[in-house]
């Protein structure tokens, strides 16, 4: 991807590009509406209006907070456990080599099919959603942390030894700055996948949350709610993704 192009480009040109892309999306959306009609989809402006209306309704905020709590808990668990496991597997080469193919196999699995297992173990409710979010998010965090540790330049560690640094000093001044960018990339991908996991969890066998609102919308032919929630979720996911990506690129460039 043309990561470098962004920094040289004048700001107004980038803004123009973003607006152009937005206009294209809205145009396609309007076109789909013209083809499919009221039963399937609501037009952009009406959806925006209904989304604004949703933002003012207490029911929406109840569902949103259910999703936010589940997502926050999953993300916290996935990040902490992922970084811890990744550090352990990265430093202990043998365990890392043993675990890596197992992890990549789990990563490319359609985890939805395992959701009933999660439901049977954790029961219906928020803990199943959290566990499912963690299942999605934790593996990329482990894999990226592991590869970050493995990619540390040995010269840096030798420097630490030559300078007689204590383990704590080594960790703070050498290890942490060296692995931070890669781990952040892992957390960024973990963020998106955890959100996906929580939403899928809510779409199946749940009574609360934004995923439930969407499924309920389709089941009761409430196209307005469905479209508005989809719009809000997509905007949130895209802007959070873009923000994390910008931070990610800055971290990588500094390194």
């Amino acid at each position: 991807m043309s990561a470098g192009a962004g920094s040289v480009q004048p700001r107004f040109l980038r803004l123009a590009d973003a607006l152009l892309l937005l206009a294209a999306v809205v145009a396609i959306w309007q076109l789909v509406y013209a083809v499919a009609g009221e039963v399937a989809i609501t037009p952009p402006l009406a959806t925006l209006g209904f989304a604004a209306h949703l933002l003012g309704s207490p029911v929406f905020w109840r569902h949103l907070s259910a999703t936010a709590i589940a997502f926050g808990a999953s993300l916290a668990i996935a990040s902490a456990a992922g970084v811890a496991a990744g550090l352990a597997l990265g430093f202990h080469r043998f365990s890392g080599a043993v675990a890596e193919p197992i992890l990549t196999a789990l990563y490319s699995l359609p985890k939805v099919t395992l959701y009933p297992l999660v439901l049977l173990i954790f029961g219906l409710g928020i803990s199943a959603k959290i566990a499912f979010g963690v299942m999605h998010g934790v593996i990329p965090v482990i894999l990226f942390t592991m590869s970050a540790i493995k990619a540390i330049d040995p010269v840096h560690l030798k420097t630490a030894r030559a300078l007689n640094l204590t383990p704590v000093q080594t960790a703070c001044t050498i290890l942490a700055p060296a692995v931070a960018p890669e781990i952040f990339t892992g957390l960024r991908i973990g963020f998106s996948l955890t959100l996906l996991g929580v939403l899928i969890g809510e779409m199946f066998a749940s009574q609360r949350g934004l995923g439930f609102m969407i499924i309920n919308g389709i089941n009761t032919h409430d196209v307005h709610t469905m479209m508005a929630v989809i719009l809000l979720l997509t905007v949130f996911a895209l802007s959070a993704g873009a923000l994390l990506l910008a931070l990610d690129r800055r971290l990588h460039h500094r390194a």
Partner: protein, 250 residues
């Protein structure tokens, strides 16, 4: 076999044995997890009696269509985007955060648009897989060494010859990664779609047996999907490594 592979095998085997022991002794209730041996025998019965054939045929056909579509469309649009830098700059932010969009939320919309048939599923598999192929194509075309382009110029190759003899072979490893990811994404997209909302296929069968408290069938199917995904991945990995080795020698 290397020590690493032996240990890996031992860990997986121990895990299975432990699960078998815990479920057989009742430490884990049969209502939660059934013994792995029971999963395997039940899967065998399902396969032998042909009860799965219809669901399998449907799922595999969907995956194949979605995979073929995402690879061709992904490759062609990747090449087109690479040729048009202006368009590429426009699409760059979208491609960069593409996988942050939870596409499954569009599934109801796709059903409304395309009808309650296989096409919404194929569309989900396609939007999942195509972007991976586009990104891989862009990566591959970006990384063609400049020296090789110069070689083409020195030999006065035509544009067509340059593409066929220089650019595509140089981009093959990246394109292969794209193929691999597309297949994995199509697989995930189709099964997840079937699981959540559709009325047929392997994913649906798992959800259906969950709703019917039919644990043996549910676990047998999970085992089947698991084994399928692992087999698919490891064969593609093996193929990729062979490709890389040959390339290293040449």
């Amino acid at each position: 076999m290397s020590a690493v592979a032996r240990t890996r095998l031992a860990i997986v085997a121990t895990f299975m044995a432990l699960l078998e022991l815990l479920t057989r002794t009742g430490a884990i209730s049969e209502l939660v997890i059934i013994p792995p041996s029971a999963m395997a025998t039940h899967l065998w019965t399902l396969l032998a009696t042909g009860q799965l054939n219809a669901a399998m045929a449907q799922t595999f056909a969907n995956i194949a269509i979605a995979f073929a579509l995402s690879v061709t469309v992904g490759f062609v649009s990747g090449a087109a985007i690479h040729a048009l830098p202006r368009l590429r700059r426009l699409l760059d932010p979208l491609l960069a955060s593409y996988y942050a969009i939870p596409f499954f939320v569009f599934y109801p919309l796709l059903i409304a648009l395309l009808g309650l048939n296989r096409w919404p599923l194929v569309a989900i598999g396609f939007v999942f897989g195509a972007a991976a192929m586009v990104i891989a194509t862009l990566n591959g075309l970006d990384r063609v060494p400049r020296v090789l382009r110069k070689v083409a110029k020195v030999h006065r190759m035509s544009r067509r010859e340059e593409v066929l003899r220089i650019v595509l072979p140089a981009a093959v490893p990246y394109l292969f990664t794209g193929l691999k990811l597309s297949l994995a994404y199509a697989f995930i997209g189709i099964l997840a779609g079937e699981f959540i909302l559709s009325g047929g296929g392997l994913g649906f069968s798992i959800a259906f047996s969950y709703d019917a408290f039919d644990n043996p069938t549910m676990y047998a199917l999970m085992l089947f999907v698991l084994a399928l995904a692992v087999a698919l991945n490891s064969s593609l990995d093996w193929w990729e490594q062979r490709l890389m080795r040959r390339r290293g020698r040449a």
